[in-house]
Amino acid sequence: MPNEKVVVQNLTKSYGDLLVLDDISFSVKESEFFVIVGPTGCGKTTFLNSLTKIIDINNGSILLDGEAVDPRKQNLAYILQEYSALPWLNVEQNIAYGLKIKGYEKSVIEERVEEAIKMVNLENYRHYYPSELSASMLQRVVIARAFATKPDLLLMDEPYGQLDLNLKYKLEDELLSLWQQTGTTVIFITHNIEEAVYLSDRILVMTNKPTKVKTELINDLPRPRNVASRQFVELRNEVTDLIKWW
């Protein structure tokens, strides 16, 4: 399978008697925009944290490029629902953070930060601290921080859940264009179905308690997509119905 970027097999995690993740298997192709709809609360956090090896899993395997996933060896980036810009660093320092952890040379860091800062149009705010930025700018900082490390895999956890509708649309489009430019593989979790249909190449629907794979849908609506088109609304309703019955 040359094309498979991420392969998750039989991922299982329980806390004591409480089964949280139940035998989850799926795979993601290189440069694919893979959206997962479903788990909320503890299932979701556990799922993401096991993907990134922050917590140990009971059973199963997660392969990235054919090797067991390990953030210390591979390039992962994680964009969260909560504002995760580090409040004690300014915009520039925040964007440089991942590169510093990975031990890049100073000149490389500067160059990449410059590139990323331009990508998200924050050139005029480079010395601002997160407390001085608006919600959308904060989310842009976090996106720049992730893209600056040129990740092999980008994990996104409802990054726009707390934003205004207009901003959300705008940032979603920005994300799509960044994704198209860089060819990054993205796993995106959301429970906003419209968002899922708008962004995805493929949608994985999961159940809640325990988190389990329900079904997988291919989304080949042409881009750019029209949310008011019949096909769009029908696909959205199809996904909604799947979730209503869990």
Binding site: N166, N192, R223, V227, A228, N237, I243
Partner: protein, 265 residues
């Protein structure tokens, strides 16, 4: 199902004449509402729709008495609106529940403040708690409830104060999609059961089309009436009917939202 709500063409419950609002800021003034004329009939479900950030909420706040009027006049039942009016209730964007009161305490707040006796007001509060489907949660504190449930409490609280007019300021903006669909059905159901005049602000075109008798489209800053649509699609409405989709297309072409997806590049 019975679709046509008979709208009597009699005198309106709310009359707005050349309403405007300017805010004082450090360097001058900002005009957020510019000469809005609007009549609202009794028991009408009116949706104020627009992409802009300003204007819509301010208009609701003026109706609720939370904001002064810079120019023009608002009449409710032909009486000039001054300050708070007991005929007006409001459901807020953030749930704005009193965190130190239980569900019951929140819902009975209005009647209690107006000095209605305990048994009577609690009976009434219970009725509305049941109506929004929160039976059994009377003693819970807001922090123990999900977002959708909190918004239900907010709705029950507004209804329990017996207003003739209920203002809803993007009440479902912070909810996730499924909950949002559920709440929209819920609001429609309550409105059918307990007829009141509802003024509902949203920037979601689908929500507007699903709920409204009439959609008034406002321009971005300053807000002016761009145009209005009377929606006669029978209820409950299908989101994929030809009628619905074409209206959606038409309205969204008027405002600058991501409908059509043309600005993705």
């Amino acid at each position: 199902m019975d679709s046509t709500k008979q709208v009597k063409k009699e005198k309106p419950i709310i009359t707005m004449e050349r309403i405007s609002k300017t805010f004082q800021v450090e360097d001058g003034e900002v005009k957020v509402i510019d000469q809005i004329d609007l009549d609202i009939r009794e028991n009408e479900f009116l949706v104020l729709f627009g992409a802009g950030q300003c204007g819509k909420t301010t208009l609701l706040k003026m109706l609720a008495g939370l904001e002064t009027i810079s120019g023009g006049s608002i009449k409710i039942d032909e009486k000039e609106l001054k300050g708070f009016n007991p005929k007006v209730g409001m459901v807020y964007q953030t749930t704005a529940l009193f965190p130190w009161l239980t569900v019951m305490g929140n819902v009975e707040f209005g009647p209690k403040a107006r000095g209605i006796g305990k048994t009577e007001r609690q009976k009434k509060a219970q009725y509305y708690i049941d109506l929004v489907g929160l039976t059994g949660f009377e003693k819970h504190f807001p922090s123990m409830l999900s977002g959708g449930m909190q918004q239900r409490v907010g709705i029950a609280r507004a209804y329990c104060n017996d207003p003739e007019i209920i203002l809803m300021d993007e009440p479902f903006g912070h909810l996730d999609a499924q909950t949002r669909y559920m709440m929209e059905e819920e609001v429609e159901k309550i409105w059918q059961e307990e007829k009141r005049t509802i003024i509902f602000v949203t920037n979601n075109i689908e929500e507007a089309l699903y709920l409204a008798d009439r959609i008034v489209i406002l321009t971005e800053c300053p807000a002016r009436v761009l145009t209005e649509y009377k929606i006669d699609i029978p209820r409950p409405r299908s989101l994929v009917s030809e009628e619905f989709l074409s209206l959606r297309e038409e309205i969204s072409s008027l405002v600058d939202l991501r409908e059509g997806g043309n600005d993705a590049e």
